[in-house]
Symmetry: C2
Subunit: 274 residues, 2 copies
């Protein structure tokens, strides 16, 4: 993993197929505020969720190389689809540690569940890869994992229709099958970068359907905690806020969407051609 | 336009950013059943609707060249976003006629409207380009055009949630502003290849909101009629059904989605790398 080459002052690299990965940057800046961060959104080719594993792997290797060329000490794959599909290839191509979105979320879900019934929602590609099922089974065999693909949640988050009648109906239609079994799931993993924006409505609907409390795990927060653990003494200990540099392969609509996902204003994106 | 090079037996080429353009193939086969058709869906890079004009132009020139290399006598740009953004560049790069999605839909809307108030729904990129506004103004200055971007309609069509409570609420939220003015629109253009699948719910909600009849124009049918006019004597007059060859840049989920848009089963897609 080449951790001997890390240096506290080097930036952390985060990439995603689009702007959704800024929810990971947001979580990262909350947990490690002194770190410099380089973000790359492959917005010209978003979304990866509908593409084949071969295409996802090819695109994501290019994204990671862009960050490695800029001297990052750690790579975070914000995109669940990429993590589920291409983590082995990305880790093999990197001399610095690579953190995917699946393993941290799976660990946290296992820490939360009491009845060993976990639900995972995400894009079709993330779920088809069965990465969450495998990650959970590897840690605790016999845990039951039920999944549901939720294609409408991404455009709902981008429209800002995050807690209204439509969001509720959509959430109910997608989540109902997860709670139809007996026993129902007691833990729900939000396996897509966009979903933290819908966390309130998803949590409320999940509790309504379960008739009791449900633990909701978002992969963005889980990744930020994993980054802190991996960095250890390589973390930047300065007290002033780290710098954030954002790059994108297409700048359409970023000014409107990015602040919603990042939770703060930003100075803008630099356009790059990969 | 090089129409002297056309030959009745050569195929018609249709391309789109994804599978949605199969609604154009469906309309084309209804109007010109004897024609051979080559379809290309750039499914690895779908959707174009969120990309910048520069990216859309670059990708669509590659798609068109793929069809031209296969000897097509006519190119149909099924994608409204591409038509709105890159038609001049595509026409300049082709020796055979090129039909976009915008002009035929605009003509048909002008033939339908009585009160000269037309509404257009589509992707953000299609509407931002103002191609419909310009096409309608060029033909009949002074016509009022009101637009609404509807990002949720594409995933609704792909989920098959085409006429239920969610589809109705979403349709009502998107269409309501088009009917809020006085006088309201009397003609609605479905400016995206996916929308014909939602034609019933959109028509019903439009009539509810208008409290009277509303003409609904879909660009797929309008394009098929335009193709028949452009071909004239170059149309294939044989009576047996034409051949359909489908290509895609990524084959994920095509088996599930394609028949829904085409309205018939198909033998499959050949994977190509552009």
């Amino acid at each position: 993993m080449g951790q001997e080459r890390t240096d506290a002052r080097r930036p952390i690299g985060v990439f995603d197929s689009g702007v959704g990965g800024l929810t990971v940057v947001r979580a990262l800046r909350a947990v490690l505020p002194g770190e410099d961060v380089i973000y790359l959104g492959d917005t010209a080719r978003v979304p990866y969720g509908s593409k084949s594993p071969r295409t996802v792997e090819r695109y994501s290797l290019t994204c990671q190389q862009f960050l490695l060329d800029r001297g990052v000490k750690l790579v975070l794959i914000a995109c669940n689809t990429v993590s589920a599909t291409a983590l082995p290839a990305l880790a093999a191509a990197s001399a610095v540690p690579v953190i995917g979105a699946v393993e941290p979320g799976a660990s946290r879900a296992l820490a939360a569940t009491r009845n060993q019934h976990i639900g995972v929602i995400g894009t079709l590609a993330t779920l088809r890869s069965e990465a969450y099922v495998r990650a959970i089974a590897a840690r605790r065999p016999g845990t039951s994992v039920t999944v549901a693909a939720c294609p409408l949640l991404v455009p709902l988050a981008e429209e800002g229709w995050t807690d209204d009648d439509i969001a509720q109906l959509v959430a109910r239609r997608y989540l109902a099958p997860l709670f139809a079994a007996d026993p129902a799931i007691d833990t729900l993993v939000l396996g897509c970068t966009h979903y933290p924006l819908l966390r309130d409505v998803l949590t409320r609907v999940a509790r309504e359907l379960a008739h009791r409390d449900v633990a909701v795990v978002d992969s963005a927060s889980a990744m930020a905690e994993a980054a802190r653990e991996v960095l250890g003494s390589s973390a930047n200990r300065r007290t002033d806020a780290g710098r954030l540099d954002c790059f994108a392969t297409d700048t359409s609509r970023l000014d409107e969407l990015a602040p919603r996902f990042l939770g703060e204003s930003l100075t803008g994106f630099e356009l790059v051609d990969l």
